[in-house]
Amino acid sequence: MTSTDVQPTAGTGGLDVERIRKDFPILARELPGGRPLVYLDSANSSQKPVQVIDTMREHLMSHYGNVGRALHALGSESTEAYESARDKIAAFVGAPSREEVIFTKNASEAINLVAYAFGNPTNTDERFRLGPGDEIVISEMEHHSNIVPWQLLAQRTGATLRWFPVTDEGRLDITGLDELVNERTRIVSIVHQSNVLGTVNSVSPILARAREVGALMMLDASQSVPHQAVDVRELGVDFLAFTGHKMVGPSGIGVLWGRRELLDAMPPFLGGGEMIEAVWMDRSTYAPVPHKFEAGTPPIVEAIGLGAAVDYLTSVGMDQVKRHERALTAYALDALAEIPGLRIIGPRGVVARGGTVSFVLDGIHPHDVGQILDDVYGIAVRVGHHCARPLHLRFGIPATTRTSFYLYNTTDEIDALVRGLHHVQKVFG
């Protein structure tokens, strides 16, 4: 099989995958030893279409200047491109206002930004007060980026970290919701779509309870915004974090969306140029959001690239993307179920789950699975705990093999994976 043999296949919802694949030059690449590339690791990081790559290149070649600070032609062109990327991203997630879109370097920074707003001794807003006796609620299926910032916060402030357990099927167990989220809870931060299980969590029951007790709610949407239409007004949460590199955008750029009144009430996080209104040696006043949270020279070209990524996804259509991935996921779940000794960790059906499927093979360590798949077939999957070690501890396994799909994947690639897994079993059988 060569990569050009990879064809779009019936049953994937009408996306012209062949045309889409042509936009992603890397997919046609041959790996050392003449292996074709079968890229099934988009939950880790997605590939980038030439439209994104060329937008960035073109900006660097002809329009680059620092943003905000410069009056000259290049500065204006860069500022306009950077701020119009903000408009695009605001529209993409249905933000009521463009000022609510804050550029960070990745989703992790976005979550840390919110965590650092709590328990700051200089803060005067009741909603961000945090100390001993107060509680933070996360879940057992979180990515480390939605665990460690809250652990650090709890350690700094003396607050208590609590979490939702996960069921054997890989769903959030909210049977204890009313006890877990209570009058002491200040913030609930939950993943929207799990990067291991594929589970898409239902937000509304948790949000309703958070509202009841006056807690804020944040969603880690790193794995949902790339794969389905997300509308912050519909979701109704207070904060949303996501990351450029998983949504056909560049590295070095992430987004925090937050409600304007909350962002206004939060203390500054990073201090520096561009986030100020006026500075004296002994005190400063701060710029209105989003700039208050964008200290220093931002990832200018990266934000512009993310704007192009959002244009690309919009032109394909997020509903189309979702439908395509759902078809691939159904196909993969069926095909993997037939491999003897293979156990899927996470929901076995396509309801309320995305195109990320993790599994273990009896008696074969995921590292060996991943390496043989890559070495022999050029199949890129991720192996390990996928930055979700507590979730793996929950299932009593050190690691899983994870395959994840995006708009450019095909059922032929899933077939290649299945063939590869059979070979792995032969080698280590």
Partner: protein, 147 residues
Amino acid sequence: MIAESMYQELILEHYKRPQGRGLREPYDAEVHHVNPTCGDEVTLRVKLADGGKVQDVSYDGQGCSISQAAASVLHDLATGSTVEESLAVVDEFTRLMQGRGQVEADEDVLGDAVAFAGVAKFPARVKCALLAWMAYKDAVLRSQEAM
């Protein structure tokens, strides 16, 4: 087919039929090492004998084929040799593993362990290969302290 260079027949052999596996008595020191990033674990015991000899290396653990085979090969090489010889092998093995594939292995020193040369090209797997070997070095040190 780069894999062939890493998954040597000898490694697969040791993985499928590990030598000296299981924890045995008596022992001078027991250590437990974990590779937190991938969850590989090994529990390893060393029993030293008179004349600077290694009487037994016994172990148990879980992990990928590389980490398991490396423990098995270590058992074969260390048991019955002198402490000094075996530590020289550990040093050479470590040098090879950390050489990013640029280091020429000394087969005379390494014996069977030379089969792991291909692993050095995969930085993410080097820790797997070294897990039991580092545990062994640690256990020998503690055994000597205990004596």
